[in-house]
Point group: C2
Chain length 202, copies 2
Amino acid sequence: MTTARVRDQYHHGDLEVALITTARKFVKKNGLESLSLRQIANEIGVSPSAAYHYFPDRNSLLAALGFTLFEELADYQERELAKVAGASARAARERFRVLGRTYFEWAIREPHFFNLMFSDFCLIESSVEQTREENRAYQTLVNCLDDLVEAGSMDKKLRVSAELLSWSVVHGTTSLIVSGHLDTEDFERALDSLELALGIRR
Amino acid sequence: MTTARVRDQYHHGDLEVALITTARKFVKKNGLESLSLRQIANEIGVSPSAAYHYFPDRNSLLAALGFTLFEELADYQERELAKVAGASARAARERFRVLGRTYFEWAIREPHFFNLMFSDFCLIESSVEQTREENRAYQTLVNCLDDLVEAGSMDKKLRVSAELLSWSVVHGTTSLIVSGHLDTEDFERALDSLELALGIRR
DNA sequence: CCCTTATCTGAACAATGTACAGATCATAGA
DNA sequence: TCTATGATCTGTACATTGTTCAGATAAGGG
C-alpha cells in the first residue's frame, strides 16, 4: 500500500488531509463534544501544535470536516439517484422519494455527522464552496419536481415553493428523529403525507 | 426584594435553581460550547464543586436547562394562542399560523436555546416529564387541525398525518434558518406553501 | 552546496470537568 | 436547650484540553 502513512518522519507530507480524516473517524465514533485536537495529533503521530499550521483553531478543523461531509452526502445522493434515471412518471416519483430517503438514511447512519453539518461550526463562514455544494443537491430537487410536473403526475398549482416545502419536511423529520423527538417510522409517514399534500399521484 | 441572592453564606439555600438560571444566562449569551461550570459557580459565588451535589455532571445541568426551555416555549405558545381563541374558521386558521410563528420566533430570538433543546444533551434520558411537555404543544397542534377540518376550511382528505407534516415543516425551516442554510423570509414562504398543500383556504 | 522557507517539535500556560476528604450548618430528637 | 446526624458546601488536587511561541528540522530553489 503506497497510501500507508509515513511516521517517524519530521515532515508528515499529508497532514492537512490526515487531520480531517482522523477527525472524521473520531466524530463518527464519539460525536463533536469529545473531539480533541491532541487525541487527533496523537493518533497521527504528530505534535499537538502541528495542526495549527493548517487550521487557526479547533472550530476551523470541524468546519473543514463539515464541508467534506456535505460533499459526501451530495455524492451519495447522486449515486443513488442515478439508479432510478428515466423520463417516466414512475421514475420521477421514485427519484423524489430517493432524494428524501438518502438524506434521511445518511443522517440515521451517521447522526454525529448530521449534527456537525447543521451545527454552529459549519456556519462560521458560509463559504462559497459550501453553498455551491448545497445548491448542487438543491438543484437536483428542483429538477426532480419539474420532472414530476412535466410527467403530469403532480399538481401544477402546488409547484410553487414545493422544493422549499420538501426540503423542510425531509430535514425536519430527520432532525426530529435524530434528536429523539420522533420515531424512525415517522419518516415514511411524513413522506407519504407530503406526497399526498403535493398531489403527487402514484 | 426578598428574592435577592444571599451570598457570603455557607448554605446558598436555592442553589439548584440558581445553577439553572445562571446556566440559562450564559447559554443565552454565548451558546453551549463556551458554557463553563466554574464560571457559573463563580457567578453565583459558590465553589466549583458545589454543583455536583445537584447534578452528576455538566451534561445533566444542560439537560435540566433544556427541560425548562421546553416549558418556556410551550407556555409562550399557549399565551399567544389564547389571543386568537374562537370557533370561527378564521380564528382556527390564525391559530395554525400562530403555532408555527411562535415556534419560529422563539428560535430566532434565542438560537442558542433552540440548539440546546435539540442537541444531544436533551436526549440523554428522554424523561417522562419532557415528553409530556412536548405532547402538550403537540396536542395543541392536533386540536388546531381538527378545528380547521370542523370549520370546513381544510381538506378532510389531507388531515391524515397533517400534524406530523406541519411540525416537520415548521421545525425544518426553523432549523435550516437558524443554521444559516435558509433565509429568514423563507419561513413565511414555507408556511404559505404548507397551507396551500394542505388545502387550508383563506 | 547553501540558504530561504515551509513544516513540525517541545515546553509552557491558563482554563476546564471532575473526584474526594473535610468543614460548616440546619434541624430533628433527647 | 443540647447534641448528633445528615445535608450542603469548601479546598485542594489531578488529568486533559486549546492555544501560544520560540526553536529545531527538513525540502527545494539559487
